[in-house]
């Protein structure tokens, strides 16, 4: 039987207003920027795409990168290699490493920041890190816009509403003097990927503040705030932390996530956190 195939119609809006108006009239259309998440998961000669495509790359405003005193503002369609071009001294080591870790250099020439945040097909490598950085995203629709914390964006009740488009990501600068970002697992299979990010501010051999986040595949973000609060103010070096009662808060918090995080990934998170703590001890 021959399937009735209709080729998609492509629209090339040049301004955000034009885009929002088109999206309102065609809410089922596909927002297409880099498209690496879409095409890499459809390994066929002719990838099946929805009937209407809104191509975002002709909208200059969506690719703009601005730097102000307190934060960096990146357009959702800014290519990842262009963001890396800002430099490690501005992005800070963890964010720089996180972006550099995504795919190959050639893929980063087309992949966008918005794609990493929105794509349901790939591991959202940057999400735990953006959550730690208290990044905010701008969602716009015709007639209004709102800023949302990345942590809330993951919540299905607070995330995208009909007609909304991710336009900008605002990342505040931070002063954490120890930063770590690690991705484990198979690049080709996003479900196995574990993303781990940890920041600590150490002053006069004391942990002034520490926070970490982990994400498995494209699921939510794991945080253990009680554990972070308990560690703040502790004096370094911290030896034998696994025997410390504080550490049980982490294991308990992880155990509460049994349905979301497998035992293998839970052990990995514990291990990565301990490695980070050892690196803090070694800094002294």
């Amino acid at each position: 039987m021959i399937k009735n195939i209709r080729s998609p119609l492509v629209y090339y809006p040049k301004t955000i207003n034009e885009l929002l108006s088109l999206y309102k009239s065609m809410p089922d259309s596909l927002l297409y920027a880099g498209g690496t998440g879409i095409l890499s998961t459809r390994n066929t000669k002719y990838p099946e795409l929805p009937p209407n495509i809104l191509f975002l790359r002709r909208i200059d405003e969506l690719s703009a990168i601005r730097r102000s005193e307190g934060y960096l503002e990146i357009g959702a369609c800014a290519r990842l290699n262009r963001i890396l071009g800002i430099g490690e001294h501005v992005l800070k080591p963890a964010l720089y490493a996180a972006i550099k870790n995504i795919a190959t250099k050639e893929v980063r020439n087309i992949a966008t920041l918005g794609g990493n945040i929105c794509s349901p097909y790939r591991s959202k490598t940057l999400m735990p890190l953006l959550a730690l950085l208290d990044a905010r995203i701008e969602l716009r629709k015709q007639g209004g816009s709102r800023w949302l914390n990345v942590r809330k964006f993951i919540d299905p009740d607070e995330g995208f509403q009909e007609g909304e488009v991710l336009t900008r990501v605002r990342i505040p600068f931070n002063n954490y003097n120890h930063q770590s970002f690690i991705v484990t697992g198979d690049r080709a299979d996003y479900r196995s990927a574990l993303t781990f990010a940890c920041f600590a501010s150490v002053q006069k051999e004391n942990i002034a503040s520490i926070k970490f986040a982990a994400g498995v595949g494209n699921k939510g973000i794991f945080r253990a705030r009680e554990f972070e609060e308990a560690l703040a103010g502790r004096k370094l070096p911290l030896y034998g932390i696994t025997e410390d009662p504080v550490f049980t808060r982490l294991t308990t918090a992880l155990k509460n996530q049994e349905e979301e995080i497998s035992s293998f990934h839970r052990r990995q998170i514990e291990g990565l956190f301990l490695t980070f703590m050892h690196s803090l001890n070694d800094m002294l």
């Binding site: 690496t36 095409l39 191509f55 893929v107």
Partner: protein, 160 residues
Amino acid sequence: MKIDFSLNGKKVSIDTLPEKRLIDVIREDFGLMTTKNACYSGECGSCIVQLEGQPVPACQIPVFTVRAKRIITIEGFMGTEKYLDIINAFNDMKCIPCPFCFTGKIMAVDSLIDNQRSPDTSEIMSLLSDHSCSCTSVTSFINGVKVAYQNREFRGEMLK
């Protein structure tokens, strides 16, 4: 859908399905067969072309996105002195990529040495790890890239 773009310096126009991948357009519609396709997922690095001067995997680009853009394939790149910098260095260092990864590695090396500074070994290793084909000897590849950079730098100085 009719799409106009520049291919290897010539303005071309094609009437095709918009979702057709650039790699298939290059190979099937324009008969430029040196650029290979292996994975359709952007992982292998064998289908790299230059889009607006930047190396990109052609299998990850549907043709509707290249409207009014400038594309250079390895066939277009072969006629340049930049290509000679690399191929002469590879020949001198006995670095011979197989026909499948040849295009991708040459295009990626060009982008690396175009940064106006000498690439270090870790950068070259990172480039090599982005290509799944392991036909080339690592040592000869590293030496080849370093000599290619020297060739380009020398040619640049001669031009000055």
